[in-house]
């Protein structure tokens, strides 16, 4: 019987057949932590007493979640990570360089690799065919020290895509649609694998946005095949040698499957306080929105800023509007292309490349009773720093249209 993408990647790396349900010890090709999970990772690493990193050039510490530091405690956590990197030879990604998951797909991850990160959205790199998954600080400390991790080979859940998006419908709408259908535990510990003729129309930015939210359905990984789109992306980044094609076997066994016709999708909005509480924009149209946030590892990419800039150009945002490009590279390119100019003229506050207000640390904490529409991946109660606020999740197009009118708005009104 054939293999799923997850089984194929793990079998190739383990140099032995890996089947769903097997417990395996895997070599790790890249291991990383960020500034809110890294300090505990460093402490656990020290406690292991094994001394050195297994592979300093493939160990990265990202300062992105509270960057620049909003408090003395977090500034000292940054110092701890800088000192650890200096001492061990690990790579340090400084404040302002961008979100770990975006930096990983830009410069580090390749198809077929096994990647572990101390952040649940590590699954993002599945967009280019890497078996990338989030773990806690202890597991990451062990992976840093041993260059290996243990895992249970996940069962496959096939999402078969057909058709193409209609105007105003984006990858975020697709993933919100999927999660609303299967639920926040609909793919618990499974490998969510995206296949079908509909893939042809999905850019790498689209694939990263979808893979990023695989964990919001409980998945271990969200995997796309590595194809010509992946090839072009790596070539454009000067990493052509990192490309190799990957796809599941035609007779792979999946324990579950779902068909999605992209041409039937509507712009979607996830209502408070659950990611799987998503409905077509029509059902929540007119809800007043005090703050709009465009950014994060889900939707802070160049394509996201482009569509937001296109909608907002020449207009004035009625909602407070915060924009955080996902990396410095994206910030610079968006500046060169005039997107940031258009956004700033529309009233946007441009903040440092990084996680911005997504996790409730700083740069846009909400007031009691306020509504925020965000392009992020989570709307749990308290997520953005205030348990008495309400978070709606949507695409960057819906976010831009909403900012213009100050209430939840169908982006097709402006396209």
């Amino acid at each position: 019987m054939g293999m799923t993408l997850a089984e194929k990647i793990l079998s190739a790396r383990a140099k032995a057949p890996c089947r769903a349900g097997d417990i395996v010890i895997m070599p790790v090709d890249l291991v990383f932590a960020q500034d809110t999970t890294g300090p505990l990772t460093v402490r656990q690493f020290e406690a292991l007493g094994l001394g050195k990193l297994a592979s300093p050039s493939r160990t990265v510490l990202f300062l992105d979640h509270a960057a620049p530091a909003p408090s003395k405690e977090l500034a000292n956590d940054h110092r701890l990570l800088r000192e650890f990197a200096r001492r061990t030879g690990a790579i340090l990604s400084e404040v302002g360089e961008g979100i770990c998951h975006q930096r990983v797909v830009e410069d580090y991850a390749s198809p077929g690799e096994v990647i572990v990160g101390a952040d649940s959205h590590t699954v993002t790199a599945g967009g280019l065919g890497a078996f990338a998954t989030g773990m806690g600080s202890s597991d990451i400390a062990v992976a840093m020290a041993l260059g290996r991790t243990w895992l249970r080979v996940p069962e496959g859940f096939l999402v078969n895509l057909k058709g193409t998006f209609r105007k105003g419908v984006l990858a975020k709408d697709l993933v919100l649609h999927i999660i609303s259908r299967i639920g926040a535990d609909g793919a618990t510990y499974q490998s969510l694998e995206f296949m079908g003729q509909g893939l042809k129309g999905l850019s790498m930015a689209d694939r990263f946005a979808v893979a990023n939210m695989a964990v919001e359905a409980g998945a271990k990984v969200g995997l796309f095949p590595s194809d010509e789109t992946t090839h072009s992306y790596l070539r454009a980044r000067g990493r052509e040698k990192d490309f190799h094609p990957l796809s599941p076997d035609a007779d792979a066994h999946y324990v579950n499957s779902l068909e999605v016709d992209l041409s039937q999708l509507e712009p979607m909005v996830a209502r408070p306080h659950r990611v799987d509480n998503a409905v077509p924009v029509e059902e929540v149209k007119g809800t007043p929105i005090h703050q709009v946030f465009i950014g994060t590892c889900t939707n802070g990419r160049l394509e996201d800023l482009e569509i937001a800039a296109r909608l907002l150009a020449g207009k004035k945002a009625r909602s407070r509007l915060i924009v955080a490009p996902a990396s410095r590279g994206i910030f610079l390119e968006a500046m060169k292309r005039g997107y940031l100019q258009a956004l700033a003229e529309a009233g946007a506050m441009l903040v440092a490349p990084g996680c911005g207000p997504c996790l409730g640390v700083h740069m846009g904490v909400l007031g009691d009773g306020e509504n925020c529409l965000s392009t992020a991946n989570r709307n749990f109660q308290g997520r953005m720093g205030n348990p008495h606020a309400f978070i709606y999740l949507a695409s960057p197009a819906t976010a831009a249209a909403t900012a213009i009118k100050g209430e939840i708005t169908d982006p097709r009104e402006f396209l």
């Binding site: 010890i25 590590t122 806690g136 991790t149 535990d185 510990y189 659950r274 749990f380």
Partner: protein, 165 residues
């Protein structure tokens, strides 16, 4: 023996320990004072060492922050009982020596006196006079749990290979 502290379905790691306390993550005893405060405001006052946190389905969904498992343990929680559990949290909990027992928690109410028979794989609700079987913890995780967590496990064995194969 300990008492049941009840929460509902889909308690995320943001509910367990919100991101707004990120500045306390290098001060775990202080961080633990804020465990569950948005969803169960009296938790810190009510919890005593040896108590059980009893949840519905999909407990611990969301972020990979191991701090979520640590603060529950530091608060005195002996084990989490839930109908199902998000897998990053499940693994983190075992890694810090906090057992998560998967069982049908519907019959357990706030304040019930609970006891776990580890060998028999049973949760006993002494208040209700009922016994509930819990799912087997995978062998590799049981070994880690027996050593008190992943760090002590590696301190002892220096690698991930299971003792005896």
């Amino acid at each position: 023996m300990g008492k049941a502290l009840r929460v509902g379905d889909d308690i995320s790691t943001d509910h367990i320990i919100p991101g707004r306390f990120a500045h306390l993550r290098s001060n775990l005893p202080e961080l633990a004072k804020h465990a569950l405060e948005d969803t169960y405001p009296s938790f810190a006052q009510k919890v005593s060492p040896g108590d059980f946190l009893v949840a519905g389905k999909n407990f611990g969904l969301g972020s990979s922050r191991e701090h979520a498992a640590i603060v529950l343990k530091l608060a005195g929680i002996k084990a989490v009982l839930s109908k199902s559990c998000a897998r990053i949290f499940f693994r983190n909990a075992i890694n810090v020596g906090l057992p998560v027992l998967i069982t049908n928690t519907d019959a357990i109410d706030e304040g019930d006196e609970l006891e776990v028979d580890w060998a028999a794989g049973l949760v006993k609700d002494l208040t209700k006079g009922i016994e509930l079987g819990f799912g087997r913890i995978p062998t590799v995780m049981l070994k880690i749990l027996e050593e008190g967590g992943l760090v002590p496990f590696i301190q002892k064995y220096s690698n991930l290979e299971l003792p005896g194969g």
